[in-house]
Symmetry: C2
Subunit: 391 residues, 2 copies
C-alpha cells in the first residue's frame, strides 16, 4: 500500500505563514529564541497543530510538542527548531517543523495507524544567538535531560543542507550519516621583530611568513588525509606589530577543522601539529597550537540511515548519503535515541541569510520523504522496545 501524499500547497503556504512572523522590512527573519517574534511563532505553531487535530503542549524551556489525542508511546519524534539567527531565511529550522506538522496532519487525515506513534516538536533556541543563551541546542538538550525522552523511540529531522554540495551534484535528497566534529585552534607563531630592509631573508625569524606558510599548507594537508570527510578553515590571520617595514615578530591564525570521524580529526590534529612545527622551525620561529574548543562527531543510527535512504529513493533517484557539516538538534538527540536526518539542497549553499532558498519541488520531495521514512520507522519502532544508545 502506498503511503498518503502530503499536501504540497499546504506545506508551502504554512512555510510562508511562519516566515511572516518576525520578518523585517528587507525580508530577513528575526526570531531569536525568546524574542517576541519567536514566542509569537510558537503560539502560531500550537494553533496550527490544533487546527491539524493534534494535542499540543509546551515544556518548561519552550519546546512546542504535538501528537494525536490517541497517541501512545514509544513515539518517533519529528521536528526541528523554530528560532532563527537575526536576518535569517525562511527555511533552516522552520522547514523541518512545518514539514513535521504536515506529515502528521496527512497521516491523521488518512487515518494512518502510524499517526499515533509519532510526535512532533519545534525546539527552543537551536541557534544560540540570544544574549542569555547557553550557546544553542538548548531545546533538544532540555528534552534529553527530561523524563519525556524515555517516551521517544527515535528522532528524525528534515533540514536544508545549508551548503552547496547537493546542488553541485544535482541531488534531491540525502540520508544524513552524522554530524561532523568541529575543533578550533589558535596557532601562534613567534619570531623576532626586525627592520624589513636591514634583515636579509636568511637572518630573519619571520613569524608572518611562518603563519602564512602554515595557513597555505592546511588545505593540502587535509586533502592528503581524506578528500571527502575533512574540511578546514583559516578564519583569521593577524601579524604584530603590523607595519609595512617591520618583519612580524608575532603572528596568529584561527583554525577550524571539521571531520566526519574521530579518527580523521585525530589524524588532522597530529599532522597539522607536525607540519606547522616543521614550518616554524624552518623559519626560525616557535609554534604554539592551542585547542580553543572541540565538538565531537555525532554518528547517526545506521538502521535509520538505511531506512531514510531507501524511503528517499521512493521519491527520487537523485539520492545520496552525506554527513552534515553544520550542527543540528539531531546531534544532541543522537546521543540519547537512534537518530537520522534528511537533507534537501540549498540553492548556492546559502543559509542564515535572506537569500536562503530551495526549489519548491525539492521542499515537497523532502516532506514526502519524511512522511515515508516516518511511517516505516514508527511502525518498526512501535514493534520493538526502545534501543539504548550510549550517551
Amino acid at each position: 500500500m502506498n503511503n498518503p501524499a502530503i499536501s504540497a500547497p499546504r506545506l508551502l503556504t504554512e512555510l510562508t505563514h511562519l516566515a511572516q512572523i518576525g520578518q523585517g522590512p528587507t525580508g530577513g527573519i528575526h526570531r531569536v529564541a525568546g524574542s517576541k517574534a519567536d514566542l509569537a511563532a510558537r503560539d502560531w505553531l500550537s494553533k496550527t497543530m490544533k487546527v491539524a487535530g493534534l494535542t499540543g503542549h509546551r515544556d518548561e524551556i519552550g519546546n512546542v510538542f504535538g501528537r494525536t489525542p490517541d497517541s501512545e508511546g514509544p513515539r518517533l519524534l519529528l521536528g526541528s527548531h523554530a528560532d532563527t539567527v537575526p536576518g535569517a531565511g525562511h527555511l533552516d529550522g522552520a522547514y523541518g517543523v512545518v514539514a513535521a506538522i504536515e506529515v502528521l496532519r496527512t497521516l491523521v487525515e488518512a487515518g494512518h495507524p502510524a499517526a499515533d506513534h509519532i510526535e512532533i516538536v519545534a525546539f527552543w533556541d537551536e541557534e544560540g544567538v540570544a544574549a542569555d543563551s547557553n550557546g544553542g541546542l538548548g531545546g533538544s538538550t532540555a528534552l534529553c535531560d527530561s523524563p519525556h525522552i524515555r517516551d521517544i523511540s527515535a528522532y528524525l529531522e528534515l533540514h536544508v543542507e545549508q551548503g552547496p554540495r547537493m546542488e553541485a551534484a544535482g541531488l534531491d535528497l540525502s540520508a544524513v550519516t552524522g554530524i561532523v566534529g568541529v575543533e578550533r585552534y589558535e596557532v601562534v607563531m613567534k619570531g623576532q621583530e626586525n627592520h624589513a630592509g636591514a634583515a636579509p631573508f636568511h637572518l630573519r625569524a619571520d613569524a608572518g611568513r611562518a603563519a602564512t606558510r602554515a595557513a597555505a599548507a592546511l588545505m593540502p594537508l587535509c586533502q592528503e588525509i581524506d578528500r571527502e570527510g575533512l574540511i578546514a578553515n583559516v578564519g583569521s590571520c593577524s601579524f604584530s606589530p603590523g607595519a609595512a617595514n617591520v618583519v612580524p615578530g608575532h603572528a596568529s591564525l584561527q583554525v577550524e577543522i571539521r571531520g566526519i570521524s574521530d579518527d580523521l580529526l585525530e589524524a588532522t590534529r597530529s599532522t597539522m601539529r607536525q607540519q606547522f612545527e616543521r614550518i616554524a622551525e624552518e623559519e626560525n620561529c616557535s609554534c604554539e597550537i592551542a585547542q580553543v574548543s572541540a565538538k565531537p562527531v555525532a554518528s547517526f543510527d545506521p538502521e535509520i540511515v538505511r531506512t531514510v535512504e531507501q524511503t528517499c529513493l521512493k521519491s527520487s533517484d537523485k539520492v545520496t548519503r552525506m554527513a552534515s557539516y553544520a550542527g543540528h538538534d539531531a546531534s544532541v538527540m543522537s546521543s540519547h535515541v537512534p537518530t537520522g536526518m534528511i537533507f534537501v539542497p540549498s540553492t548556492s549553499g546559502i543559509s542564515h541569510n535572506v537569500l536562503e532558498h530551495t526549489p519548491d519541488h525539492q521542499l515537497v520531495l523532502g516532506a514526502q520523504a519524511l512522511l515515508d521514512a516516518a511511517v516505516t520507522l514508527a511502525e518498526e519502532r512501535a514493534r520493538q522496545p526502545r534501543l539504548a544508545v550510549a550517551a
Copy 2:
C-alpha cells in the same frame, strides 16, 4: 706619507657626551627633530666645533655646519644627522656627525692641507617622526635646495649598518654602493564569504587562502630574481570578516619590496603581479595590487665607492661593498653631488633601539676610514671642477 690618526678616546668620549643629551631613564635617547633635546644637541655640536677650532654656522632649517677659518670651496661635505627616533640608541646619525668633527679636528691639529677643503654637517630631521615633519630627510633636502650646495663638491657619510649582514659576514667596513629603492603595495584578494563547514574546498573562493599563498610565495619569488639585491616583507595580513567558522571573503596584505636597482624592482613588480594573479585565479578570487609609495634607487658615485673601498682596506682587510637597505641623507645628496657612504657593523643588526651597539674598535676603524677617504677625496675634488650629477 701616512694620514694622521684620529683620537680614539676623544671620538668615544664625544659620542658618550652627545648620547647624554635627551637620554631617558632607561637609556633610550629622545632627540626628535625640533625637540628641546635636539636643539640642545645642536648647541653642544656648535660648541664642540668651536673648541675644535672650527667656524660654525646654522642654516635656516637647523642644519649645523663647521669648517676651518681658512676654508675654501669647493668642499667635501662629511656628516650625518643629529636627530633621533624616540628611544633611540647612541649611534645612528650621531656617530657620523661626531666622527666628522673628529676627522676635521684631527686634520686641523695635524695642519693637514685637506682640512681647508672639508666641511662638516649635522643634518636636521632625517628621521621624520615629529608631528610637523615633512617625512624626514628635511635637512639634506633643504641644503640641496639652497645656494650652499653649489659650494659642495661631494658628500661622504659614515653610518652604522643598522642590519646584521656585516656582523654575520665578519666584516669591519663597507663601501656603500647606493641605497635601495623601496616600494610599498597593498594587495587585496576578494573572494566570497562562506560557511566554513558548509562550503567544501573546491566550491570556495577563499580570499584568506589566496592571500596567505601569495604571502608565502613572496620570498621564493624574490630569491629567484636575485638572491642578493632584493628583499621583501609582508608586514601585515588581515582577513575579513575574521571568524573561525567563516571562509574569508576579503583579505589584504601590506607588501614592501627593496631592491638595489630599478631593473630588479621592475622585475619583482611584474613577477609579483603575475604570480599573485595566478594564485587568485586558482582560488576563484580576484586580486588588486595598488602601489602605496615608491622611493627610487639611489646609486652612489662609482669613483667615490672605489676610493672609499681602497681607503677602507688601509684600516682592515675585512672590507666589502654593499648596498644600504635603509634610507639616509646620502640618498638625497646623491642626486645633487657625487656621494658615498661607509658602514660599520651593527651588533645583532639592532638599530632605532637602546640596544643599538657597535664594538668600539670598529667605531674607531670607521672614523679613521672616513678620514683616509676624506683626505683622498678632498684633494682630488679640490683639483677638479665640481661634477654635475643628474637630479
